[in-house]
Symmetry: C2
Subunit: 136 residues, 2 copies
Amino acid sequence: MKSIIEILKEHDIAPSMQRVKILEYLRNYKTHPTADMIYQALVDDIPTLSKTTVYNTLKTFTEKGILLALSLFENEVRYEYNKDPHIHFKCMKCNKIYDLNHSFDHYNDNLVDGHKILEHHVNLKGICKDCLKVEN
Amino acid sequence: MKSIIEILKEHDIAPSMQRVKILEYLRNYKTHPTADMIYQALVDDIPTLSKTTVYNTLKTFTEKGILLALSLFENEVRYEYNKDPHIHFKCMKCNKIYDLNHSFDHYNDNLVDGHKILEHHVNLKGICKDCLKVEN
DNA sequence: TTCAACTTTGTACCGGTTACAAAATTGAAA
DNA sequence: TTTCAATTTTGTAACCGGTACAAAGTTGAA
């Protein structure tokens, strides 16, 4: 697997310690974390870490295409390491977010009603497998 | 067409002046406005209008199923008068939001990977028809 | 007419995010 | 190796969408 430093360099980003740790976290934990969750997870390791750094770094990574910024169903941005095409499902009961391997890539780079589609975000909402079990 | 007052009564909502004007605005202007846009549009007409009233009213309407609250691509909620199933497209250049008449209703009330789907939100992003013309 | 229930309003506050300037770090030229 | 400009990080203050709350206003049925 490519090293974090390699990935950063490929995207013209200087591999500072903070940037390496943040990207490492996002690659390891696929939990669609918020900026604050990332900050909380790393501040023990980097006691001087500033939230502004986390926000700046996530912005940079997103602009350079390393991360995807998700507007899921609440009023906060969540981030994920860019990977195979998938869609999101959020459980209305336990609030867990699942990745589903359904692709809508037939949209991308195509025209729909004359509009050129560059990104697609499919967000499903309902009751997840596990919560369905508990209900019955 | 049903009157605004009828619609409110059908949903067990007392038709106050503020509520009528807010719903009227949303039914007339299909621009997916934010709470603040609605406030700005109505405050000349109702000089004592409070933003809290707009927020309260939108919350009530959404709970009663008159409106849909959309988490589109930014960090602010946008509202629309509930109508035929459709998906959203946002132009990355002019920021206009279009409704597209594509239905994904085959999802609803079905199981996907064992999860029960109750809502689906499909948000496309790209360059709209009009901006494509200007580009060339 | 009365009065309780409901609605609206204004203020203060909250939490996620950004602006900004100072401090720290880096890395390439000398 | 030293220097110094460019980059990165940090902390504080501010911004902005949204909510809590209590007071004031309005409504409608007894």
